[in-house]
Symmetry: C2
Subunit: 403 residues, 2 copies
């Protein structure tokens, strides 16, 4: 399968049939890009995955009733304002933006999917947004994908894009996308947005199934318990512009592998750019009784502030990792549990091996990327999650964010 | 009931029948007190509540099989080493310490309850502990309660004691105690120890029932999901030295109220001394369908790093509070939910009231103590939790802890 998926440069316009742009319309006070538009002139099949928070932003309410769908023409995203907890006025604002985009592009409002990200509770500055529309429409092009990717960022320190080519039975298709998300130190407040496009021909049901399946092992592996922010949104749009249909199960498997590569890369880029992050830790839990057990243990380790501060302190404090795994009530047994830092066995048969204070452990903790593997010794299930450390800068960024 | 419970000074020796002491035996490298001994020469009924972590320290394994019990003579606690994840050697070390204390006090090992706190994984320095025993036994006295309270601390910045007098039908009894715990910014790793004593006459079953009941609304209200460290231990010892028996339900209610006052005070002292804490926030969730719902919502707000960093930043960022409440899947409905900061209504009918950016809100956020009240508008259930903020110093303390 590997040979059928090849990485390439690009983002939301890597696939044929899409053009994009990003401009500054004045929502962010510092003049950074804050209005992003993706256009699919020929129409696209669209699927979406949304936050499971019980408090949802107006654009999420609007959009989740509209996908899966055929003939979607555009995605409009603003950063700098979440349009969440804004009531009826917020719904009207989201509808006004969508209507203005539809007018500008000559389609129906139902063919435009919205998303927003930023501070909760502030009213959406609709006039600034609509005033910025002529410029963003004028900028639409394949080369505008970069500005699109920039315009959806908030506290992110860098653009996040990924793209692949996939060889199907009927020919070559492309999948590309971008995302934003940086408050991932505690992934339950990810405030993540992502847009992925492909030029494969897909029907709405297949598009939605592919997306929902791939999310489980990519974006949801950097999240905990399905907890989410008010605005989390992930779109997959399929233009069909390659002329290549998905025929048979082998094609589906290949397309899913390509989509997983793109979503996995975007998810890892989010963790690596976590607010204040200085480390990227891969947390593998193996030897579990079932999938639920290994997922709960991995998520518990990834969200533990004591584990995360130990990562920041570059301290191979394995006791905190074992304690975090034990605290979640997933039925682990210390005497069968083993913990590795990269290739170093730190804990086995209920006790430390002594390697935790070795020079090799110190060297491993000083690297930017490291792997923690916890084998539960109970069965065959495994799961891989990703997390970053908890640093001074995480506190600074989130204490200063709104002020 | 209020008049029947009066606060007084003192700790574990405020109740008759108990003497205590604390010394430095060299487990902590900086010469601070690290060995604490409580002695009840006449014997005491004892109850205990322990961590629910699946990875438990040797002293917890030893002790939880021994309570509830009659004729307990001593509690021995060391700080500086958790004796957790230490296997068979750790069990032998805990047993050796208990045996040495029993010899020194002239009782059986089964009459001695142990507890430990500190770094996970290091071997317990038994020789230092037993070498320190003569000094700590020689120091036993009512005035030694202060040194006892100091000797159980780790990253705590101050001693934590509380005591009350309770008027029962048959006369006056006293309840007093102390605790340690500072890593409570994320309460699931509380590493909490507490010892409470009373001179009331109690049978073991009543003693255990009282303790387990009171824990639910005190120490567990600063904890989340029942998550716990490897070493959490809370003992209640009743010497009966007052000669006052508990007779009838009214006495039980009064004694429970007194115990709740002591445990509640100790729990609040832990939050207020949370690692790096600059704020003490009371989180009340009212108007819930049932107790489970309000507890889940309150715990979610208390553990949210985005809420905690907003507290540190003194920012009335109510959107983060509402989003944290919505993320936990407890069935909240934004349109019936209202949020107050002290007396300021910040959120109602699904939108912000505008008060979040007022000078009054800024003033409330600048105070050390503040109350967040979230009314779910669904019923009558309520719960009160406590939390502190997430500051630079939390990260510093936990990044540097072991190194």
């Amino acid at each position: 399968m590997e040979a059928t998926v090849r990485e390439m440069d690009g983002g939301v316009a890597a696939a044929a049939g899409f053009v994009a742009a990003g401009v500054a319309c004045g929502i962010k006070r510092d003049g950074r890009l804050d209005l992003a538009l993706l256009h699919c002139p020929g129409g696209a099949v669209a699927a979406g995955v949304f936050t499971r928070n019980e408090v949802v932003a107006a654009p999420v309410v609007l959009a989740r009733g509209r996908v899966p769908a055929r003939d979607v023409r555009a995605v409009v995203i603003n950063s700098g304002c979440a349009n969440a907890c804004t009531g009826g006025a917020g719904m009207a604002a989201a509808e006004a933006v969508v209507a203005a985009v539809a007018t500008a592009l000559g389609c129906a409002p139902e063919q435009v999917l919205p998303a927003s990200t930023g501070v909760i509770g502030d009213p959406l500055p609709v006039k600034r947004l609509t005033a910025g529309l002529p410029a963003v429409v004028a900028g639409l092009g394949a080369s505008g994908a970069t500005a699109f990717a920039d315009a959806i960022l908030t506290t992110d320190t860098r653009r996040k894009e990924a793209a692949v080519e996939v060889e199907l039975a009927g020919g070559r298709v492309r999948i590309g996308g971008c995302c934003k998300g940086s408050g991932m130190i505690h992934p339950n407040m990810a405030t993540m947005l992502a847009v992925v496009t492909t030029d494969a021909q897909l029907d709405p049901a297949t598009c939605q199934t592919l997306l929902s399946t791939v999310v489980a092992t990519t974006f949801n592996r950097i999240s905990v318990d399905g907890d989410t922010s008010t605005n989390d949104t992930l779109y997959l749009l399929a233009s069909g512009s390659s002329g290549v249909a998905v025929s048979g199960e082998e094609d589906l498997v290949r397309l899913a592998a390509g989509l997983a590569r793109v979503c996995g890369s975007l998810a890892l880029q989010i963790v690596a750019d976590g607010e204040g992050a200085t480390k990227l830790a891969t947390v593998q839990v193996t030897g579990g009784r079932d999938g639920l057990q290994v997922e709960r243990v991995a998520a518990a380790i990834c969200r533990s502030p004591l584990v995360k501060t130990a990562l920041f302190g570059q301290d191979a404090n394995w006791g905190r990792i074992v304690a975090a795994a034990g605290a979640v009530g997933a039925g682990i047994t210390p005497e069968t549990t083993r913990l590795w830092l990269d290739d170093l066995l730190l804990f086995a048969e209920g006790v430390g091996t002594g390697a935790g204070r070795s020079p090799a452990a110190a060297a491993a903790m000083h690297a930017h990327d490291l792997t923690l593997r916890l084998d539960l010794g109970q069965g065959e299930a495994c799961a891989t999650y990703w997390t970053c450390d908890l640093s001074f800068d995480y506190v600074r960024i989130n204490a200063e964010y709104r002020t």
